[in-house]
Amino acid sequence: MEDIKINKTTEDDGVIFMSVKKESEKEVDAKKDGDVTILAIESSCDETAVAIVRNGRTVLSNIISSQIALHTVYGGVVPEIASRKHIEKIDYCIKAALEEAALTFDDIDAIAVTYGPGLVGALLVGVSEAKALAFALNKPLIGVHHIEGHISANFIENKELEPPFVCLVASGGHSHLVVVKDYGEYEIIGQTRDDAAGEAFDKVARAIGLGYPGGPKIDKAAREGNPDAIEFPKTKIEGAQYDFSFSGLKSAVLNYINGAEMKGEPINQADLAASFQKNVVDVLAGHAIDAVKKYGYKKLAIAGGVASNTALRERLEKDCADNGISFYRPSPVLCTDNAAMIGTAAYYEYLKGVRSGLDLNAVPNLPLGDRERRYHANR
């Protein structure tokens, strides 16, 4: 997975346009009978992304148009600004994905799109565009759950990975511990009771003056700090071994800062970042390893934006090695929002015969696992 190459250009409006390519997959075999090529669209938050994926595991093109720079000034993603950018960028991303893969619409077997969870206005751009393509081209449409996409990102770089396995999903909006029983079959065994892990990173980063986005900023600052400098409490949930809670930790950090300010003591930003991060990593990794041990699959994967946190990756690598567990993680660029993962998830849905109707709608709080199949009416 070290052979990933990212071509980046910053556009006039501050949006960063990226084309992600795997060096080793530069030359792809010509299409064979029975191959399934899916064009996938993702627009659930502040990335407009389009990818073309063959047979679920070969990414032919992976285009990401990231607006993060536009939202930094507001301290978080502004839904209306995100939606407006999606509509400006989406066609260019689709065109670039086709060009990068040297394909035309004729080569595409199905159109896939994220339909939830996410920002409703942002989701609707991708969903509307995908439905128009599916209708005009007379191709099947497959609605994909965003988190199932994140989990499926692991299949792209780990060709040998097959269910069942345990997956830790941690991002700005989600903290789930999931058992992937089979392709497209998920059981949630733990989730956050309050803030998502990524949300806690953002809030703490803001409180200690690191700004947005919190995840990468804390990750960087923590490298200079002592993770044992400050001990913050860990929240255990009675009767729900695998659930998380991060709001108590966030309050403890804020109290610590207030206390220091009252006493006029300086705050060591790096120590604070490192100690906070260690606490989160302890909880996430601890729960994940416990779950793998209990379910006995000997396989752990991670997904979501927080999965690119270096401390979490290092910690899980070590803990998995110590416990004889195979550890799978996507490259950082596949941990953030992208459409390749949506194309991968869609492929396994496609094989199962899942097709969405042209009335597919964006579902901002779409639950994982027990998806609302009524959105998947057969065409």
């Binding site: 600004i81 509509i87 066609d91 751009v125 969903v127 128009a132 042209l358 009335d359 709608n361």
Partner: protein
């Protein structure tokens, strides 16, 4: 020509297929279903009745805005996807214009109003004028825009209607919302369009799109984005209080650039005085200047106040730009740029082919603005200005 038209700007989701003078199909729904769920199924339903038609159309027309932000994007993304898949051009149609087109042939004033919340409406003023073959079967009408589509307070649009003083026909989803207010505010005879004419209709979008297409108004769907006429709330409010150290520049409200009117003169002269001091023109000078046939004056208006002024005079094809002023409280909002762009656009209408102006050599922000607009320095008049003494830099912008 054959057009597929889509309008999802308001409460109605409406699509139509028009072929020359024939409305092949129109499908409108105003019900509880969301535009997202209903729009493509409507196209599918048309297709199942008239057969595969998508490849037979010449272009796709879309109500480009204003309207509900999300509604506009559902229509826009759908239209863009269709254009991309089928390699067809897109014809963006102003939503309010298309609403007015419902009343084709009406010689009264037409005022569509779409509820824009916050006591405002997306609106405009239109009327139809008969073309040359009046009194024959071939007689057609042209829609004349009196006030281009914009966002206005309900009182402001009522004032504009009263000012014209002619009977008006109202339509749109803003009418039931502001019914009582309008009844009090309007001093002219008015009526409300009937249910067959009073909401967005894709047939009207298609009909107007044909005219726009003939005028060269088709674009590639790739480059299309809706015309919201309003910024997002976050942009209006200029970033959140805890949103990091960098603050956004103060964002403009809705800025309107328009030609000067006699009643603006007093305010414009005051603005000049504040900006230009001793070099400012008097009210009388301004009044005379703007009344001439060889001049164009435009003002920038923000929340009912004049915040910018500039003018140009045609001297045998060369346009001398004068009186460039922007209110101190509204600098860095791009007002100067927008005003001058319009001035140059309008100057063309009175035969100006090159523009020139003088600026204090020390006035760096103004010089940056002129250079951005394509002006080039062509000379200096030493010590031209007084208090403080400064050279005048002479700038020219010549049309290619």
């Amino acid at each position: 020509m054959k057009i597929l038209a889509i309008d999802t700007s308001g409460l109605v989701a409406t699509v139509a297929v028009a072929d020359g003078d024939v409305l092949v199909s129109q499908f409108s729904i105003q019900f509880k279903t969301t535009h997202s769920q209903i729009l493509v199924p409507m196209l599918d339903a048309i297709q199942s009745n008239i057969g595969p038609f998508m490849n037979t159309i010449d272009a796709i027309a879309i109500a480009k805005g204003p309207g509900s932000f999300t509604g506009l994007r559902i229509g826009a993304a759908t239209a863009k996807g269709l254009c991309l898949a089928l390699d067809k051009p897109l014809i963006p149609v102003p939503t309010v214009d298309a609403l007015a087109y419902n009343l084709y042939g009406t010689e009264k004033i037409i005022c569509p109003m779409m509820d824009a919340r916050r006591s405002q409406v997306y609106t405009g003023l239109y009327t139809f004028v008969p073309t040359s073959s009046e009194g024959t079967m071939e007689q057609k009408f042209t829609m004349k825009t009196i006030e281009s589509q914009t966002v206005l307070g309900i009182e402001e649009i009522a004032d504009k209607i009263n000012e014209i003083g002619k009977p008006v026909v109202l339509l749109g989803d803003g009418i039931p919302v502001y019914h009582d207010k309008l009844e009090k505010l309007l001093k002219v005879p008015f009526s409300v369009a009937n249910l067959n004419q009073n909401r967005q209709s894709a047939a009207a979008v298609a009909a107007l799109a044909m005219t726009i297409y003939e005028e060269g108004g088709a674009i590639s769907g790739m480059e299309f984005a809706p015309d919201y006429l309003r910024q997002s709330q976050a942009e209006r409010e200029g970033g959140s209080a805890d949103g990091g150290k960098k603050k956004l520049p103060k964002r403009p409200g809705v800025i309107r650039i328009r030609e000067i009117r006699a009643e603006d003169i007093t305010e414009a002269a005051e603005l000049e005085k504040k900006c230009l001091g001793a070099e400012a023109w008097t009210e009388k000078q301004l009044l005379e200047a703007q009344a001439r046939d060889d001049t164009v004056y435009v003002v920038a208006e923000k929340t009912g106040k004049i915040v910018g002024l500039c003018g140009v005079r045609n001297v045998s094809g060369d346009g001398e730009i004068t009186n460039v002023s922007v209110s101190e409280t509204c600098r860095n909002e791009g007002i100067g740029y927008k005003m001058l762009k319009q001035l140059i656009e309008r100057g063309r209408g009175i035969g100006i082919t090159a523009y020139t102006l003088e600026v204090r050599a020390q006035n760096a922000p103004a010089i940056r603005l002129y250079e951005k607009l394509g002006f080039k320095s062509e000379g200096v008049r030493p010590n031209f200005y007084e208090n403080p003494t400064d050279d005048a830099a002479i700038y020219w912008r010549k049309e290619q």
